[in-house]
Symmetry: C2
Subunit: 338 residues, 2 copies
């Protein structure tokens, strides 16, 4: 007796059925489970009633979240893990569940058509008919707010990391281009009160950005600059930031955006492009490569890229020095000095 | 400069967007990518053409599979990992991709309604109207074959492990109850040529079981026994096996099935129930707990259970000695000796 030698299909099955755990977390966020549990450990039965769940599978649902590392259970009381409490409680400004709400409502069903996307090269979301994603998202207020809040989910961690990993003390101002709600803007501004500047995005974003800045008492430090990075020049600043912007666009559009950043900077100014930058060998950063498939699902021509790709485009635009700096998880920033 | 201290949302994001990697593997299996690559390392361009993919995202798709550990890439040639080659090449009898084909075609879209399932306690698949899953699956030949092949995907690893982890030399015969294609049956029979017996399942399963046994040259060793475990007694044997059977049914049905196993065994005979048995603390085996949510999606009353639960039911049915033996990955077997 013993364990079998040789390869087993276990790893394949875990990956192939990985959507189970993923969708379980997405449903928990949709139901507001972490907001309910925040600060108040709760029995299974109380939690079930507060969420309006049927008794059949509620405890399996809660215990699955324990086994997935999103909840704890002690003496029959469920509680948030520290990370879930900080990032998945809707009442906290550190909430990043907006991305997961959007993933639950939009991306999960759209990804069901991944095979069609791979065969056609065309997006599989609201713009499958040929529209621009952002025109479609920004046209409807509820969808706009969900999208902007989602962007905070994917940029807050990078913002916290970039606040310490970049020498902000050497600069006086920054503009976060395509700032959305301001998830990155706020983290950098909180850590560096000497910085002025703010966020640049389409005019409809203004009230959502300003509300978010107020939640951190940053409304006097950070200003909203309305505009379109297709139609307008960028506001001038010592540092221009683009987070998860370049990957939305095709190669010609990427080059145009990098050139506009160059034009907005003084000599010695810094351009920071941060995303799930793919490793140059394209063998390690699975999340970055999958994000590129998400750009297939979501955009007409977008794709993610390696640090070497981005440094090459920056050099073409005139940047003197470039480097790649890891942030957190799959994210890195590519820095170009003018 | 440095990395940020304190909690980051990275782990939450990785889990919440885990469906990306999962669906990428499911699409690769759907497209037959691993069957095409088997034995013939291929350039990205050749692979893209063979799969009929658009050029936009094909290389991102292939490199994502490299980063996910399902392919390798060396000198520009893509190849299967040893596990992918053995388990995801449709031409090999060791193929387990049937489960992933079914996950891609059925489970991924059904799980989009997990929240509805949790609120209502009702299945979210073809039987949302109230029918029995197996009646629905078995009514249509193509769906039946996909389902039976899928069951091989989830039982072959356990079969390989159980072939060494149980003292088969002390027994002369076994019946695999609800055998489906015979994924478990075949692994045990191959390792122990002295064993007689075979598989018990609904009559429509016979040709698919017999074809699968022939692929291993087991047709003389393993016999198909047609019947329904609701309407008929089980064939008598020294060992009765049920793999991923008990979890399909509610508690009264589970107890009935355990009693029928008891009745089919001689004194000293062994009953083996193997599944993704949940740890008794219900804190570790995420896959088992998620499988129980899959039973919510798929069945009217099914649920997964702990080793302690199952040993308790076995004791109630009259089994003298019971124990839990880990197999591979999330699977264990619960053994009852009459």
């Amino acid at each position: 007796m013993g364990t079998p030698s040789g390869p087993t299909p276990d790893k394949i099955m875990q990956l192939g059925l990985g959507f189970w755990g993923s969708k379980t977390l997405l449903s928990a966020v949709e139901l507001g489970l972490f907001s309910i549990l925040s600060g108040a450990p709760t029995t299974a039965e109380d939690l079930r009633k507060k969420l309006g769940l049927h008794s059949r599978s509620a405890v399996d649902f809660f215990d699955a979240l324990v086994a997935l590392g999103m909840l704890t259970r002690k003496d029959g009381l469920y509680a948030n893990t520290p990370e879930a409490d900080l990032f998945l409680d809707r009442k906290k400004p550190s909430y990043v569940g907006g991305l997961l709400e959007m993933a639950n409502a939009r991306l999960y069903p759209f990804w069901a058509k991944l095979t069609d996307g791979l065969k056609t090269g065309k997006p599989q979301n609201e713009i499958a008919g040929g529209e621009d994603l952002f025109a479609a998202l920004y046209a409807e207020p509820a969808r706009l707010k969900q999208f902007l809040s989602a962007m905070t989910g994917i940029s807050m961690g990078a913002g916290k990391a970039a606040a310490v990993a970049f020498p902000w003390k050497n600069y006086k101002s920054f503009i976060d281009v395509g700032c959305a709600q301001g998830g990155f803007t706020a983290q950098v501004a909180l850590a560096h009160p000497h910085l002025t500047g703010g966020g640049f995005d389409l005019p409809k974003v203004r009230p959502i950005f300003e509300e978010y800045m107020k939640s951190f008492r940053l409304q006097d430090q950070m200003t909203f600059y309305p505009g379109s990075f297709f139609d307008d020049p960028l506001p001038k600043a010592d540092v221009i930031v683009m987070g998860h912007i370049l990957h939305d666009w095709d190669l010609a559009e990427k080059r145009m955006l990098i050139k506009k950043a160059y034009d907005a900077l003084p000599s010695g100014g810094a351009y920071i492009a941060y995303e799930a930058i793919i490793d140059d060998e394209r063998k390690q950063n699975a999340f970055g490569l999958l994000m590129s498939l998400n750009m297939l699902i979501e955009t007409q021509g977008g794709f993610d890229f390696t640090g070497a790709n981005c440094q090459g485009w920056m050099k073409e635009a005139g940047f003197k020095d470039t480097r790649v700096v890891p942030l957190v998880g799959p994210d890195s920033m590519v820095i170009g000095i003018k």
